[in-house]
Amino acid sequence: MQAQCVSLCLLGAMVFLCSAHARGLRRCVISMDMRRIEESFRGIKNAIQAKDTFQNVTILSTSETLHSIKPLDVCCVTKNLLAFYVDRVFKDHQELSPQILRKISSIANSFLYMQKTLQQCQEQRLCHCSQEATNATRIIHDNYDQLEVRSAAIKSLGELDVFLAWIDKNHQGTSAASRQET
């Protein structure tokens, strides 16, 4: 009788420890195939960047903002930048060409899906925003506000490849390693 109780208790304790350990290891990553979105953008990159008239200015300021983001801040910065594009950039850009419109729509809707994925992380409190993350977001918004709306929108669209590469680098590490590949 006592031996059975002890063995049951041990089993229960093991299960509890394992689940706690797994929860501690969980990070908030977007496990989606960025290649589709990158392909969509590659199709319109030249047309978009050709319309950018302010070549010496950058909005994302990659070296000041994206490259200096720590792993713990990745979720927050991703969430903020997705909101930046969805709430401001795509709305401010007026596109007339149906081909380019199709690709921008594809990217915008994919960003919306990514936002929903990160929303779940936020509800689980895995997406905390530090001061550095907030500062980086503010720099990008300030850069955007300094230009005229249409120019700022087209410039930000032109810098999408930088943003997509940053997401790919910071969100694919765990999902790629967890699979046995051929």
Binding site: M32, V86, P98, L112, Q180
Partner: protein, 346 residues
């Protein structure tokens, strides 16, 4: 009769008068397509609708879509479909238009020349995560002892998880033999033992099972080298990363390589052959030896009288020879072993 004629012509004039009024608007004349629906299987989405019939005329249709982003932020924007603006049949492959895992609104209208119908919109927006994923087709081939699999090509969105293992008929029954013996004990002990045995059985099955991820279908993939005599089993399912869903596993298919009997027969024949060689070689060597000995040193048989005479002469001239054994004469070995009186025997 005259009244009837007047009535008919009045009706005709009234109809003719109405036609310009209907045609001026243009939009309302052609009926809008009805019963819009989307069928989606393995990430291929097809929008279908009830055709608009106008006798003698070919109707064209235009399809437009709007993602959730457009419906939230710019609801006036509708994007023409890649392949169906315009199209002739009452269906449209919208796979290339539905590029994100969000709800998409779809609408269709009919056109006939300069006439267009009203837009007919899909009742419930379509999200591609509702697609039906079917178990993939697979073709197993044996290339000698190599297990090779070829998977159905379902496009770039699909990854395949191939599970394969060697089937051992004895092992899976081991734990079912344990259970009746345990059941005779107390109930609680039985429950714990049953759980542990089931977990161990699952664990050993999992440890014997290999999983390989294949990125693309349509090309042959080598799984493993098979052991002769044992059955090797394979099952596969798809995974679509864009919607985070798996299909069900396909039916398990097992193959076996017939390898046991051939080496056995070969071994038997080799053994028999070896034994024959072991016997035949010394025999032939001995035979050859005998032939060679007798061919190079043939035995000459002297007649009795000559041999006697020769002996007498020898004893006369060399008396000491008589003390030597008679075999020294060199003529006392007949060429065969037939039984007859040996001339050297006394």
């Amino acid at each position: 009769m005259v009244l009837e004629e007047i009535e008919t012509s009045l009706i005709m004039w009234f109809s003719y008068a109405l036609i310009p009024c209907l045609l001026v608007d243009g939009v309302a004349v052609l009926p809008a397509p009805q019963n819009l629906s989307v069928q989606s299987t393995n990430m291929k989405h097809v929008l279908t609708w009830g055709p608009v019939i106008v006798p003698g005329e070919i109707i064209h249709y235009s399809v437009e879509y709007q993602g959730e982003y457009e419906s939230l932020y710019m609801s006036h924007i509708w994007i023409p479909s890649s392949w169906c603006s315009p199209t002739q049949g009452p269906e449209c492959d919208i796979t290339d238009d539905i590029t994100a895992t969000v709800p998409y609104s779809l609408r269709v209208r009919a056109t006939l020349g300069s006439l267009t119908s009203a837009w007919s919109t899909l009742k419930h927006p379509f999200n591609r995560n509702a697609t039906i994923l079917t178990p993939p087709g697979m073709e197993i081939t044996k290339d000698g002892f190599h297990l090779v699999i070829k998977l159905e090509d379902l496009g770039p969105q699909f990854e395949f998880f191939v599970a394969y293992w060697k089937r051992e008929p004895g092992a899976k029954h081991a734990f079912s033999a344990i259970l009746p013996a345990v059941y005779r004990r107390q109930t609680r002990v039985f429950q714990i033992s049953w759980m542990i045995s089931k977990a161990y059985e699952a664990g050993t099955r999992l440890s014997r099972e290999h999983v390989k991820m294949v990125r693309h279908g349509g090309i042959p993939v080598h799984l493993e080298t098979m052991e002769p005599g044992a059955a090797h089993c394979v099952k596969v399912r798809t995974f679509v990363k864009a919607i985070g869903r798996h299909s069900a596993f396909s039916q398990t298919e097992c193959v076996k390589v017939q390898g046991e009997t051939l080496p056995l027969a070969l071994a038997l024949f080799s053994f028999v052959g070896f034994m024959l060689i072991l016997v035949a070689v010394p025999l032939s060597v001995w035979k050859m030896g005998r032939l060679l000995r007798h061919s190079c040193c043939p035995v000459v048989m002297l007649p009795d009288t000559l041999a006697f005479r020769l002996r007498q002469q020898l004893y006369h001239w060399l008396p000491w020879v008589s003390s030597l054994p008679t075999a020294d004469l060199g003529t006392c070995q007949p060429p065969n072993h037939k039984t007859f009186h040996h001339p050297c025997e006394k």
